[in-house]
Each structure stands twice: as structure tokens, then as C-alpha cells.
């Protein structure tokens, strides 16, 4: 086969190619809630340059995005909205829970906050920190890429 093929040829499986494509053009929905949203914005801007990973385009509409970064505390009033935004996203979709408040409620264990966004939507990656620095968020995103490529998180 190698003798008959013209020019350069790359061989892979369709599954791998699809996974690769998913990771390299992952568009996050801009779902900024609180402090973490500022750090998420900082991640997207020039200094940390999220576009290195093909995902600087924060989509305004959930219909155009496949990653939801829940950046901040989720209140009881916000939870239904969050679920609706998640439902509007087309498959395949992933969720990163950014920061202590989104992951567990953080230091605010009270009447107003949902104690962990995983009660509302399924979460793929939890990023710790209050707020997580841009490097932490990028590590979370790269871990998610890893998870998509390999089907699981490599230890």
C-alpha cells in the first residue's frame, strides 16, 4: 500500500481522529458566575492564552458550545437556569466544575447555595482552588482533553 499511495499519508482509526477533533476545537460556553469567572476570563486573554489549545472562542450561545465551565458559586436561584443551559448544549458535551464553590459549596454551607454543581449537572473535571488560578484551569482543561483522548484520566 505504501508504494501506491501518492504523497504523504497519515493512517489512524476513525475513533481516534474523532477524539482528536473533539479535543482540538472545544468551544466553552461562557458561563461565568462569580470570582472564578474573572480567572476564566484571565485564562482566555493574552497572558495565559487559552487559544493555544484551540478554545479561546467563548461562545455566547450554549447551542454552539460543547464545554461548560461552571465558574463560581451556584445559587438555588441559578440552578434551574444552569440546568437549562446545559440541556441546550448539543452532544457531546462536558462540564468542568471550577473552584471550591462550584464543586462543593466551598466555605458557604448555607441556605442559598447548591452544595456542589454535580447535584444539577454531571461533572467531568473538578478544578480545586478559591479561585483556581489560570494555570489550574488550564490543567483541568488539559486533563479533560486527556480524558477524551484516552477514555479515562491517566494516573
Amino acid at each position: 500500500m505504501a508504494t501506491t499511495a501518492p504523497g504523504n499519508l497519515l493512517m489512524t482509526t476513525i475513533d481516534k481522529a474523532a477524539r482528536w477533533a473533539k479535543t482540538r476545537s472545544m468551544f466553552p460556553a461562557s458561563f461565568g458566575l462569580a470570582c472564578c469567572a474573572i480567572e476564566m476570563m484571565a485564562t482566555g486573554t493574552a497572558h495565559y492564552d487559552l487559544s493555544r489549545f484551540g478554545m479561546e472562542v467563548f461562545r455566547a450561545s450554549p447551542r454552539q458550545s460543547d464545554l461548560m465551565v461552571v465558574a463560581g458559586r451556584v445559587s438555588q436561584k441559578m440552578a434551574p437556569v444552569l440546568r437549562q443551559v446545559y440541556d441546550q448544549m448539543p452532544d457531546p458535551k462536558w462540564v468542568i466544575s471550577m473552584g471550591a464553590c462550584a464543586s462543593t459549596g466551598g466555605m458557604f454551607n448555607n441556605y442559598a447555595l447548591v452544595q456542589g454543581v454535580d447535584q444539577v449537572v454531571p461533572v467531568d473535571i473538578y478544578v480545586p482552588g478559591c479561585p483556581p488560578g489560570p494555570q489550574s484551569l488550564m490543567h483541568g482543561i488539559l486533563t479533560l482533553h486527556d480524558k477524551i483522548m484516552n477514555g479515562e484520566i491517566a494516573s
Binding site: I38, E39, A42, T45, F58, P62, S75, M107, N110, P131
Partner: protein, 446 residues
């Protein structure tokens, strides 16, 4: 809300005002069946809500537009119900609470020394000001004064914080109107300040560094070089902003004469901060009720004239310059001495003492678990945050926890100006107006 005083400002201010005819957009003909109400509801002409309709208006000409709470340009989870007549906004109702965190309740559960971790997360763009207002209130109840060096460090950090907060305001304001380069520039400069904050406090945001009794630690070695680099770098950067925005006809056209507030409206609605000063009212708490020794430093209070988006933007740029001048003065005149008050009741023993003395260890432990008792009383202390008057109303019943901890949030009050500033303006100017008020939803909802 006065609807008769407003003039439509559609083109660039200064040019002749065109006559506007209301369009019928949003009132497309729909085949209405017998129970037309259902269709009306679907098309937003009838809303099952607490929104009050103007009975005199013809139903067909009005359209309710819902904006948010998840919207890229609304500075967080702000939701607006906008009543449109064609392209023109007639009424706006801000709906908030989507970030309500119950911080005032949590504040009653934490003792006075822990409270800083709570308040610093309210206005997450100006955490030092939150901590400062809270610490000043606790200190007033305790009746203690902080050493001069602690006060100077507080001024230094809070004024740098004002710069970083205004940079985010400029950046997002630019992005909302489409000047995305401004977003990149603003956040680039902010990183420089945050790097200094991280070096000093250990965190980029939510520092809990200013505490009752002083600050958590002394400034790190080499801080003067970092601050000097910021002071040297920023004027050049601010000139770049002028090139980018001030000399940009699109920016000027989209901000001048947009979102206008008058001085009477601003004072009546309790608006403070740059938004109030943009209307020409000379009011700055740093001048009127100085705190933390800020009266020693010379600075000016930049004022606007027209109360529009452009003036607010100019004031923010000028305030960055003034804050840098304060920072420079602090750097030159910072006194030597202790960075926290020498009062065993509120100050933990030095780290070195804990290693050698059992009593010091116990003292340290008890201070951070049980806290200290604060005499009964009530007080209200306000500081000038980047958004306006940030006050802390603190009531103590003599225990170790605040009986009531209330924060007067500047964004919360400033948001009341939104319906007035937006009335009778164009739909496209909405995001410019919101961004210029610079509401931080963590501050609004707490």
C-alpha cells in the same frame, strides 16, 4: 423614573438630532386565533410576571425582551427585562439574586477573626476594599488603632486594587462594545498587579490579608521594585489605551451621550463612586471621611460633566493615574514599624514565639478557633471602593461572632440607576451602559 425629560440620543452627541418615528418591529402580524392570549404570551407581548404594563401604550408596539441571566455581556448573572418599542428601550427591570450566597448569614456564623474570609469574596474585583471596610468596623468596635505602617500597607494595597479593578472595568467595557483588544490590554496590565498581590498575600484574589488589627504579614522583600515597575510601566500603557479608545471614532461615538444620568438622579438613587462623579458631583469618601490615613497623601478627584458612558470611562482612566500617584507617595513615605497592632487580644503571637513557647501556641490556637470577644455596640464604616461607597454595618452583642454583619454594596445601589440611564435609549447601547456602571454581581447579591 421620569419619562418626559429624556431626549433621544441616537446619533453622535453634538450632531443634529433626527426625528424618530417608532418602528413596528417586534409587532409582526400573526394570525391570532380565538384564544389569542396564548400566542401573545409566546411572542412576549403578554408576560405572566410582576412586570407592570403601561395601559396606555398600544399593545402591538411593545415587546418584552429578556436578557440574561446567562449572557456574555451582562457582567455576571444579571437579568434584565427590557420593554422595547421598536429599537428603543422604554423600561427596564433588573432582576438580581442569581448569585445570592447568603454571606450575611454566613458572616454571623464566623467569628470576628474569620469574617475576613467571608467579606473578601463579596466584591471579588475589589477584595481589599471589602476587607478594609470590615476591619475598620471591627477596629472601631474594639476601639483600637492600627500602627502607621499597617495603615500605609492598607492604602498601598487598596489603591493598587482600585487600579486592577478599573482595568477590568475598562477591559470588559471595551469587549462589550467590540473593542476586544482593550480586553487583552486590560487583563495584561492587571496580571502585573495580581502578580504583586500573589507575592504579597499568597493569592491572586480573595486575599484575606487586611485583618482586624492590621495586616496579615509585612510586605515581601523586594516589594519596592515590583511597585516601582508598575508605576513606571502604567503611564505608557495608559497612553496606549488612549490610542486605542480615545482616538477611536467608533468608541467615542458609542460612548458619548449614551446612558446619561443627571446629578439629581444620581444622588436621589444613592449612586456613588465613578458613576456619581461622572455627573459632576464632587464626592469621594477618601476626601470627605478619610480612613486609614489616606488624608496624608495628595490626590485629585477626577470629575465628569455629562454623566454618560464616556465620562465614566474617562474617570476610571484618571482614577488609575491618581491611585498610582498615591501608591508612589506611600512607597516613598512608608514608615517603619509593626504591621499589626500590639494588642494580644486580637494579634496572634509572632511565628518564632510559637516554636518556643507553649503558651504562645495555645494563645495562637484559641485566637483562631474561639476568636476574641468584641464589646457590644453598632457601627457603620464606609470606604471608597472602585464602585462607590462600600460600607460595613456591624452589630456586636458582646460575643465572639458578629450579631449582624451587613454590607452596603455599591453595585447594588448603582444598579438602580440602570433603568434611568437606559430609558429611551437604543437597544444596542444596553451593554455599553451596563458595562459603564461596572456592577459586580457578587457585590450586588452577596
Amino acid at each position: 423614573m421620569s419619562d418626559d425629560t429624556k431626549t433621544l440620543d441616537v446619533w453622535v452627541a453634538g450632531t443634529e438630532e433626527p426625528e424618530l418615528t417608532p418602528t413596528d418591529e417586534g409587532a409582526q402580524e400573526i394570525a391570532i386565533d380565538e384564544s389569542g392570549r396564548r400566542l401573545d404570551e409566546q411572542f412576549g407581548r403578554v408576560v405572566e410576571d410582576d412586570y407592570v404594563f403601561d395601559d396606555e401604550a398600544e399593545e402591538d408596539e411593545r415587546m418584552i425582551l429578556n436578557m440574561g441571566p446567562q449572557h456574555p455581556s451582562t457582567h455576571g448573572v444579571l437579568r434584565l427585562q427590557i420593554e422595547l418599542e421598536g429599537e428603543i428601550i422604554r423600561r427596564t427591570k433588573p432582576i438580581i439574586g442569581y448569585l445570592h450566597t447568603g454571606m450575611e448569614k454566613t458572616g454571623e456564623q464566623l467569628n470576628f477573626s474569620q469574617g475576613g474570609t467571608n467579606v473578601t469574596r463579596m466584591d471579588y474585583l475589589a477584595p481589599f476594599h471589602n476587607e478594609l471596610a470590615y476591619s475598620l468596623a471591627v477596629e472601631r468596635l474594639l476601639g483600637i488603632d492600627v500602627p502607621p505602617r499597617a495603615a500605609a500597607i492598607r492604602v498601598l494595597l487598596s489603591e493598587l486594587n482600585r487600579c486592577s479593578s478599573h482595568l477590568v472595568a475598562l477591559a470588559t467595557n471595551g469587549m462589550d462594545i467590540g473593542a476586544i483588544s482593550m480586553m487583552m490590554y486590560g487583563f495584561r496590565e492587571r496580571e502585573q498587579i495580581l502578580a504583586f498581590f500573589e507575592k504579597t498575600t499568597g493569592l491572586r484574589m480573595n486575599h484575606n490579608f487586611i485583618r482586624p488589627g492590621g495586616v496579615a504579614a509585612d510586605l515581601p522583600p523586594g516589594w519596592k521594585d515590583d511597585v516601582a515597575a508598575i508605576i513606571e510601566e502604567f503611564p505608557r500603557r495608559l497612553d496606549q489605551y488612549d490610542d486605542l479608545l480615545e482616538n477611536n471614532p467608533i468608541w467615542v461615538a458609542r460612548t458619548k451621550g449614551v446612558g446619561v444620568l443627571s446629578a439629581e438622579e444620581a444622588t436621589g438613587y444613592g449612586i456613588t463612586g465613578p458613576t456619581l462623579r461622572s455627573t459632576g458631583v464632587d464626592w469621594d469618601i477618601r476626601k470627605a471621611f478619610p480612613y486609614s490615613g489616606i488624608e496624608q497623601y495628595e490626590f485629585e478627584v477626577p470629575l465628569g460633566e455629562h454623566g454618560d458612558v464616556y465620562d465614566r470611562y474617562r474617570i476610571r482612566v484618571e482614577e488609575i493615574k491618581q491611585s498610582l500617584s498615591i501608591v508612589e507617595q506611600v512607597m516613598d513615605t512608608i514608615p517603619k514599624g509593626d504591621f499589626r497592632v500590639d494588642d494580644r487580644k486580637v494579634t496572634p503571637p509572632p511565628r518564632a514565639r510559637i516554636d518556643e513557647s507553649m503558651e504562645a501556641l495555645i494563645h495562637h490556637f484559641k485566637l483562631f478557633t474561639e476568636g476574641y470577644k468584641v464589646p457590644a455596640g453598632e457601627t457603620y464604616v464606609a470606604v471608597e471602593s472602585p464602585r462607590g461607597e462600600l460600607g460595613c454595618y456591624l452589630v456586636s452583642d458582646g460575643g465572639a461572632n458578629p450579631y449582624r454583619m451587613h454590607t452596603r454594596a455599591p453595585s447594588f445601589a448603582n444598579l438602580q440607576a440602570l433603568p434611568i440611564a437606559m430609558a429611551d435609549s437604543l437597544m444596542a447601547d444596553t451593554v455599553a451602559t451596563i458595562a459603564s456602571l461596572d456592577p459586580v454581581m457578587g457585590d450586588v447579591d452577596r
